[in-house]
């Protein structure tokens, strides 16, 4: 028996948001009398962190601590329209809508503060800790709480804002495919090391080295969650998952998690991630959307690594032990390529 190691590489980019635009999202922001803000959305948190990232975006824009913001979603009676949580559009589209709404609310808050401080609103800044003060004169200040109270109980202003983000619909030329598909892209590169058992065809992922460029990382831990979980899913897609193991034949389709195969906690490989941040010109604070693209480079990188290890090209997913074994048999044995050897 022999175990063979190989490395495979892939690089990808990924379009952010619904391909051709036309997918609006809206946000409403308002303040309680004590300067605590609510963001009302109808966007969905599937686990990707929609509530959390929009909360940080709102806090940054309003100039207040994140603890002073709560994101309420999703109730169609109170949350304004949002196209939905798909197409990596959440951070980008909803984030921009929240910025617009928060800017409008912030402007009112600053006007209220200006009236109390008897200065021009354009001279005011927020310190992000709950205070508004005159630029260059921190002692001439008012708390955001006092400003919001004054606005609502003294001045009769609603500290609120509306936001929408829409990239207008574009069309496709039927004959050439000319189109305006999205406004920004995320990027990734991935180097995977595998070990292949040439008697059983079993493939183990030993190591993943990746670089992801995803615009500004609005919350580095949320980004990390997506990248680690996403790469796991990529590994799962390429080596395990299918609803139809004998596609296009429909027989033996799994109906439970004992037959629908996904890697367990004992199948994990160390994943060394580097994050690059090239801000998207139209993203919220330059953010893009890491949620979908993170799985994609793993699939081809593993396939290429299997080829590197034993010389078998598996062009049909998933790469099951059976396919690898059949390939090795067809070649009359493993034929390691070692094309991505580590430089000495």
């Amino acid at each position: 028996m022999a175990m063979h190691r190989g490395r495979g590489f892939a690089s990808i980019n990924y379009p952010i948001g619904m391909n051709l635009g036309g997918d609006p999202s809206q946000a409403l922001v308002h303040s309680n009398p004590d300067g605590k803000f609510t963001v009302a959305l109808s966007s969905i948190d599937l686990g990707q962190g929609m509530k959390s990232v929009t909360r940080q975006i709102a806090a940054e824009t309003l100039g207040i601590p994140v603890a002073d913001v709560y994101v309420d979603t999703a109730d169609s009676d109170t949350g304004p329209h949002c196209m939905g949580s798909f197409a990596s559009r959440g951070t980008h589209r909803v984030g921009n809508a929240v910025i617009q709404a928060a800017q409008e609310a912030r402007a009112v808050m600053l006007e209220a503060a200006a009236e109390e401080l008897e200065v021009d609103a354009s001279d005011l800044v927020t310190d992000g800790r709950g205070n508004i003060h005159v630029k260059g004169a921190p002692s001439r200040s008012i708390t955001t709480m006092a400003a919001c109270q004054a606005a609502q109980f003294k001045q009769g202003r609603t500290v609120s804002g509306r936001g929408i983000f829409l990239i207008p619909l574009s069309e496709v030329d039927p004959e050439t495919g000319e189109m305006t598909p999205v406004s920004c892209f995320a990027h990734a590169a991935m180097l995977v090391e595998v070990e292949v058992d040439d008697e059983t065809g079993e493939v183990s992922v030993l190591d993943m080295q990746s670089a992801y460029e995803l615009g500004r990382a609005l919350n580095p831990k949320l980004v990390e969650q997506q990248l680690i979980g996403g790469a796991w899913m990529g590994m799962s897609h390429v080596l395990w998952e299918t609803t139809e193991p004998y596609y296009p034949d429909r027989s033996h389709g799994p109906v439970d998690f004992n037959h629908y195969l996904m890697p367990g906690p004992g199948d994990l490989a160390p994943h060394h991630i580097s994050v690059l941040e090239r801000p998207a010109p139209d993203g919220p604070f330059g953010g893009k959307g890491p949620g979908e693209m993170c799985a994609n480079p793993v699939l081809p990188a593993v396939a290429n690594a299997v080829y590197d290890a034993v010389g078998v090209r598996i062009d049909e997913l998933p790469i099951t032990p059976e396919k690898v074994l059949r390939g090795i048999r067809a070649n009359g044995g493993a034929r390691p390529k070692m094309r991505l050897a580590r430089a000495r």
Partner: protein, 555 residues
């Protein structure tokens, strides 16, 4: 193990912000760890009824008769629903975008086109009783020949899967039975290439497998409305779909969601909300319709299978000068979202590389299997597998290090892409370099000094001198609808009028045609919304329509 390489693109960022860039804990995390986050099924109702569907055991069959008399007499059964009970029993998900024809019933009345297609729904006091009654529904089937392979489905004489699309192909823009991409002239370039590399790739159907299965609970609410707790990924998407199928104004629907046990694309299809609300309407009681795990895996729409053929022409030095794709998306029995996945995929071709001649024919093919829908990486994951596995073969053919090959062909800022827009904000080169460095892969001097900011534009910004176009796959009997600015339905929110960047469709045969202006977004915030322009009232079925896209209707 994660590191943030702040040295890259540092001058394009202000890293000194208060809240952005901070590892703030999730807002929802306390609810998650205490088991108190309210998912759709965590809302308790007195007298909750349970819905389960009677499903086709056949891949393809005509329904001769459905006998529900025995099922109706089963203990606990409150009502049995058939297709005739659904106010509008035909839909296509993207009708909310005016894209495609209504092709899929909620409960089929005439024929089934995949194993597991629902034809009746039992509403019973308990789930066990609903399951027992499902077995008592007698359906007389006339089994029809079926087709499961995408290329078989396109052969003459193949069984017609879905009568709305009699050639088993989705119709694009009312004009063609596939989506085309034509940029330059691949055949001419193949003739002068030093190497030709061809490949065939197959992406498997994959289950989204969220830990929470899809479902909804609907209940009569005060003042003649219905509340619906749902696991949907698109609250208004599902609301609009329900409003359409139930011919009900959106104001009578109150949708609550937003805390969802994973989705990954599998919770867009809005299968549960309409049936749960219909049950609540007809029984006057709260109704839950949710999939069990078996249904989630075999009846719930997967990421569709895709088959790709790629042919590359490469020069001796490793430059790819032509790339040709033929793609088949396995849409299953109905359209759902596959048609749109193809448009997204075609806009993505030829991957993150600057290739002067690109060609694609991509077919959305109907087969007798569970309809496909969205999943993480929608429209891209499958073709990226194909492209990057193919790149590895190209590297081997020309005898190059696979990372050098990527960097050599990588798109850079200012390059013209195959969909005829200029690339910007690129970062592929840098990602490749970082990984090579970490993995100890020696790159060529050229690769080490490359950047995404340099080397693009100029000649690389030009459109091809000539693009070969054709009329292959032209269809008649369909008409292309309006594209943008069509407006929503009477009761729906209106899209805000913003400067519309979409150019008129154009044949790009003329040389030196400048690129159409790309959408220029605001730096961090979009411009303030101007008042909406009321569009002509094109409402149908009282449904919301948010906007429209590449719509067409049959004449």
């Amino acid at each position: 193990m994660i590191e943030f390489r702040k040295e890259f693109f540092a001058n394009e960022r202000d890293d000194n912000l208060n809240e952005i860039g901070k590892p703030t804990r999730r807002q929802d995390i306390l609810g998650h760890v205490t088991g108190r986050s309210p998912y759709f099924d965590d809302h308790l109702f007195e007298g909750l009824l349970h819905i389960r569907c009677v499903r086709s055991p056949h891949h393809h069959a005509r329904i001769r008769r459905i006998d529900i008399s025995a099922a109706e007499k089963m203990p606990g059964v409150v009502r049995v629903l058939l297709g005739k009970d659904v106010p509008l029993n035909l839909n296509t998900l993207l009708s909310l975008l005016d894209f495609g024809l209504d092709d899929e019933p909620v409960l089929s009345e005439t024929k089934v086109a995949y194993k597991g297609e629902p034809v009746a729904a039992i509403i019973a006091e308990s789930e066990a009783q609903a399951r027992a009654a499902v077995k008592m529904v007698k359906v007389e089937w006339e089994v029809l020949p079926h087709v499961l392979d995408v290329e078989d489905a396109l052969k003459p004489g193949a069984p017609v899967v879905c009568d709305v699309y009699p050639t088993n192909r989705f119709i694009y823009h009312g004009k063609f039975d596939h989506q085309k991409l034509r940029y330059g002239d691949v055949e001419e370039a193949f003739n002068r290439a030093d190497h030709i590399v061809e490949g065939r790739y197959q992406m498997s159907p994959i289950e989204q497998a969220p830990m929470e299965t899809c479902g909804a609970i609907a209940a009569p609410e005060v003042n003649d409305r219905f509340v619906c707790f749902t696991s949907t990924q698109g609250l208004f998407f599902s609301l609009g779909t329900a409003a359409k199928l139930l011919t009900m104004p959106s104001s009578r629907l109150h949708f609550v969601g937003g805390t969802v046990g994973g989705g990954f694309g599998g919770k867009v299809d809005s299968m549960h909300e309409p049936l749960a609300i219909l049950g609540a309407m007809l029984t006057g009681r709260p109704c839950k319709y949710a999939w069990d795990r078996e249904e989630e895996m075999q009846v719930g729409a997967p990421r569709g299978a895709e088959r790709w053929y790629i042919k590359d022409g490469i020069t001796r030095d490793g430059r790819i000068i032509a790339r040709k794709f033929t793609g088949y998306f396995d849409s299953g029995a109905y359209t759902r979202l596959s048609s749109y996945a193809i448009i997204k995929g075609v806009g993505h071709l030829p991957g993150p590389y600057t290739i002067p001649n690109v060609y694609a024919d991509v077919f959305c093919v109907y087969t007798n299997r569970t309809p496909a829908t969205a999943m993480r990486g929608f429209g891209i994951t499958g073709v990226d597998f194909a492209i990057e596995a193919h790149m590895d073969k190209v590297a081997e053919t020309v005898g190059m290090n696979p990372i050098d090959l990527r960097i050599l062909n990588s798109y850079r800022d200012g390059d013209m892409k195959a969909h005829r827009r200029l690339a910007k904000n690129c970062a592929l080169v840098e990602c490749c370099q970082v990984v090579a460095e970490k993995g100890g892969v020696a790159l060529s001097a050229e690769s080490r000094s490359a950047t995404s900011l340099t080397g693009g534009g100029g000649e690389r910004a030009r459109l091809p001198a000539r693009t070969a176009t054709d009329q292959a796959g032209a269809v008649s009997g369909f008409k292309g609808g309006n594209y943008a600015r069509k407006g929503g339905g009477a009761s729906g929110p209106q899209p805000v009028a913003m400067p519309v960047a979409a150019p008129a469709p154009a044949y790009a045969n003329s040389p030196q045609r400048p690129a159409a202006p790309a959408y220029q977004p605001a730096a961090t915030a979009p411009p303030a919304a101007s008042p909406p322009t009321p569009p002509a009232d094109t409402a149908r079925h009282g449904a919301l329509r948010f906007s429209s896209l590449s719509g067409f209707r049959r004449r």
